[in-house]
Symmetry: C2
Subunit: 605 residues, 2 copies
């Protein structure tokens, strides 16, 4: 087993790919941590907007949270319907493509790509921020810590998503049960000691509709990630629809419960946003004190926030592979590696989010304003698509189903517009620029493949063969050693028209040519010797020029066979100059000839 | 003109290479700045040792400097003799090789390589240290500044040494004349006002012989670089021997004068080493005050110290090319690029000194103890070699000439031993480890090329040709498009035994195979279709296995022709997967077959 296989695992057969599929609870860890972990910043985001109108506005946290949970319920029902209707995954992209046409599907795809990258960057930044808040001496190392966590997640995903789901299951369960216990414990305290938590006297303030809208928009950042399960249905073990739907319901209940519970406690504890700590952390301290449970919940929050990034590593490579198969992204993204993962999508996502993390210097709040737009665009498109779907297919209860999705479409559409207008200057403009750029790329890639397909005759019956009557073979060489002789033998087996070609430099070219001609005459092989002189210190250029001059005479019947010594040990490659491969690369790029290597494997030890 | 040529200059013809040769004064700038700039730390190094015995020992600076200047005189005379006897350069290496045998020449080469790398690192570090001493806010950026200066020098050298010599001429002249003026002005002051510079009363101390030896050894760091001109004779314009010898004499006079002058002023000004400044800087302040001349001299010192690194960029690539032609280093080092410079040697030197600068964090004094050993080993070997040379050839005055070189050999040999013993724990051990390692590498490389030469029959008449009667051609493909058809046409022009080979994956392989067989039957080309199934997600592995199975049947008569679509625009390469080149690389490394590309150039726009 070599280093590569030790690092990334042995190649997997297709028959082993079952191993890489996930169960309901693993699905919660692999695809839902984005949504679940957003409780760590969602309610605080609402409170941050409300506090601008004074402490008297803070009790509005509760009704706004209920509105968001209502939207969550509609989304969960809606995505359960999507999972059933589209068991091959793709979420907003596939739904829009089938029901709303190409334009809408490209918009959905672009929005999702932006969202996946932001999910990785925001989650990792928030996770490391929570961690460094607990261990302040590490604050100066925020960016390296972010990149290290990103590298770890990338590595686990390159080994295969099944293994990563399992690795993330334990912290997810600790987070859910730990935070659940904090909420229950806190609620019992509030109910048992109503006087202790009586509201202090505060002044009343007028709260405008715009402020409530902005608070609602900010809180919607807690809903990002709800669509991930519908995108990732094919990752589930059979019966995959049932498992995926159960995971979606489970996510809805846990997320809704946490949001309501946390907002309830925040309102009754009279908490407000503070620098250097989080409101989630304040809730935990009120409920359980600075006990071991507080530290467990804090660390689990850090872990789960960081690992939420994994949601995107489950989703983006799959979406990119669907786009690639549809010729809207380079075909590379559809290639699965030895471990049956889409390695190019994983690598691209890692690079893009590393750039974002570095550019924002690991600051969560610099990225959050960009975040919800992509997701809510996807929500709107997929709900609208589902309405069209139900109207077209008309199954039982289709009116009710279309109604649910229609309500979702209207609400999420309004929310998207609210985000764009309320967050434009805070960074949303970047998303507004990026999404059309991505759409343009999809369009150009598609057009390129379409034209290449026509030029190559894809889908056409193969054309009549025009076999050239013979080939002329050219063997470039530097000295008449055994490797050259071998290449000449191969050339003479293919053709009776063989040219041995060498390039001489000044000084001493005359004498070298005389010697070579003498040796050649004495040896007398059935091939012609051509000696070129070069003014420059390059063999590639004169050979290329010679080959191009032949090309124009005889069409495509020229074959260049390059002799190459290949040492059997890897390290010895440095001892041979790389002329053969340089020449091959230059000829293949620039000349219309067949170009080949005649390797001679040597083990001098 | 593309970016590459804009950055590195247009390719040069051999006939243009005259341009790249240097005159006497350019030679002083290109090959002697190492030696000249060492006046900035040489006298201070002596004083630093003497001060450990108290201020009373400092007047010994003068006699020790005279001893070093005496050694310098012997070295200069000796190297002028070397230049005359060996006009093709190579210095210690060539001299030892011709007169003392292979073992000694390898020792000389290893010592020189170590010395060249240290010269670059020490000079750049010292130059940047002088610069940051003048501009203290830049101190935290020492390492990046060192690397930036290194990158600049590397770039100039990749464009060609002639241009760099010209770029360095001006600072070299400012340094020489500026420092010369400081010394003359200072000396006039001392002579004119003897009372002002009367010695303050200091206690007498006993000074041991070992201390004097150590002070002498430290001061010899001022002599490093004296050999560079003899190594670089071929860089000079004709008459090159005369020009090189004149440059050597000029270097000797300037360096000797500066050393004596600076030591004289240091003793008469009663200076001693101080933190945060240099003794050279103290001398300049005493002589000319904090005038504009002081700043000019300081900046020129910085520039010249930094540019001293260029001495090695003149020397090491040339030495490496001589070693490569002698098969003791990879042949790559003998390849000249478009600008007729040994680009691999330049690149290697840049990387090695960047590592040293980073590891030492740009600290000059961490590297100085390693520095003189390599040079003085070279001095000793080249002097000893010259003694043998004179004894063998016996020209006129050979006894006198052999005497000069013999004296030099004994003195520098003693000095080398003094360095090793007095500086071992300060870092000399690193050199003592590196030199034998390099010798071992030379030996192994030589042995490798020797064995490869035997296997390839280098120098033998070419063997009798054994031409195979026919070849079997295999064309791997993924779809029956025009690019595949073209490759089949080429294959059929070479052979009547053509196999079209494809690999299918689950799921859906059965149906795809049925369709393909039908198309093939309808098309009916004069070739055989072979369909492989893969359990894994790789096409390379099954094709390699298939080719290897044929190899064992028919010897070397198998040719693999890989169809490849090549877009005419560079950026479009990403839209095609790199399977063709991956397959070619795998087959050429691991299979004993001819492997070629059938390119199809496409411009879909």
């Amino acid at each position: 087993m070599d280093l590569w296989h030790w690092l990334f695992g042995r190649p997997l057969k297709f028959s082993q790919s079952q191993q890489e599929e996930i169960t309901t609870s693993e699905g919660l860890a692999a695809l839902s941590l984005d949504a679940l972990s957003s409780v760590a910043y969602g309610p605080e985001a609402i409170a941050t907007v409300l506090i601008t109108a004074g402490a008297g506005a803070l009790p509005l946290l509760m009704p706004i949270t209920w509105a968001i949970v209502g939207l969550l319920a509609i989304l969960v029902i809606s995505y359960a319907q999507v999972i059933e209707a589209y068991p091959n995954g793709g979420g907003a992209y596939v739904v829009s493509r089938e029901n709303l046409g190409e334009g809408a599907s490209r918009l959905a795809a672009a929005a999702l790509v932006v969202d996946y990258v932001l999910t990785v960057a925001v989650s990792i930044a928030a996770g490391i921020a929570a961690f460094t808040a607990a261990f302040p001496p590490l604050v100066p190392y925020t960016v390296p810590l972010c990149l290290a966590l990103l590298a770890l997640i990338t590595y686990l995903n390159l080994r295969g998503v099944g293994e990563s789901a399992r690795a993330f299951l334990l912290p997810a369960l600790i987070f859910i049960f730990g935070l659940g216990w904090v909420i229950v414990r806190g609620a019992v305290q509030v109910v048992a000691h109503p006087l202790r938590f009586a509201a202090p006297p505060i002044e009343a303030h007028t709260v405008g509709v715009l402020l409530i809208l902005r608070a609602f928009a900010a809180g919607c950042s807690a809903l990002t990630g709800v669509e991930a399960i519908a995108n990732g249905v094919p990752l589930f073990r059979e019966p995959r629809v049932v498992r995926a739907r159960n995971t979606e319901w489970l996510l809805g209940f846990i997320l809704g419960g946490m949001l309501v519970g946390l907002s309830y406690l925040m309102v009754h504890y009279h908490l407000r946003p503070q620098p250097d700590t989080t409101m989630l952390s304040q809730v935990a301290i009120f409920a359980v004190g600075r006990s071991w449970l507080f530290y467990v919940v804090s660390l689990a929050t850090t872990a789960v926030l960081g690992l939420a990034a994994n949601t995107s590593f489950g989703g983006l490579p799959l979406l990119a592979s669907i786009l690639a198969r549809n010729h809207e992204l380079p075909h590379l993204f559809a290639i699965r590696g030895d471990r049956l993962v889409y390695q190019y999508g994983i690598a691209w996502l890692a690079v893009a989010s590393a750039l974002l993390l570095t550019a924002s210097r690991g600051n969560t709040f610099a990225m959050i304003p960009l975040y919800a737009i992509g997701v809510f665009t996807g929500f709107t498109l997929s709900q609208s698509g589902m309405v069209v779907h139900w109207v077209r297919h008309r199954p039982r209860h289709w009116v009710w189903k279309a109604g649910v999705n229609g309500l979702g479409a209207v609400l999420t559409g309004i929310a998207t517009l609210v985000f764009v207008f309320t967050k434009f200057l805070e960074g949303a403009w970047l998303v507004v620029v990026t999404i059309p750029t991505l759409i343009w790329i999809f369009y150009r890639v598609r057009r390129y493949y379409h034209r290449v397909g026509i030029l190559l005759g894809v889908g056409q019956p193969p054309p009549v063969l025009h076999i050239p009557s013979a080939v002329r073979v050219i063997v470039p060489f530097s000295a008449l050693t055994r490797v050259t002789v071998r290449a000449l033998e191969q050339a003479l087996a293919m053709s009776h028209d063989v040219v041995a070609l060498t390039v001489l430099f000044e000084p001493g070219a005359d004498q070298m040519e005389r010697q070579l001609q003498e040796t050649w005459a004495a040896w007398a092989p059935p091939a012609r010797l051509v000696v070129l002189r070069s003014q420059y210190h390059s063999v590639v250029r004169p050979i290329l020029r010679f080959v191009e001059s032949l090309e124009h005479l005889g069409g495509q019947r020229v074959v260049v066979l390059i002799p190459e010594v290949i040492p059997t040990r890897f390290g010895q490659a440095w001892l041979h100059n790389q002329i053969a491969m340089n020449l091959l690369t230059a000829l293949r790029r620039r000349a219309d000839v067949v170009v080949g290597i005649v390797p001679m494997h040597l083990d001098p030890d």
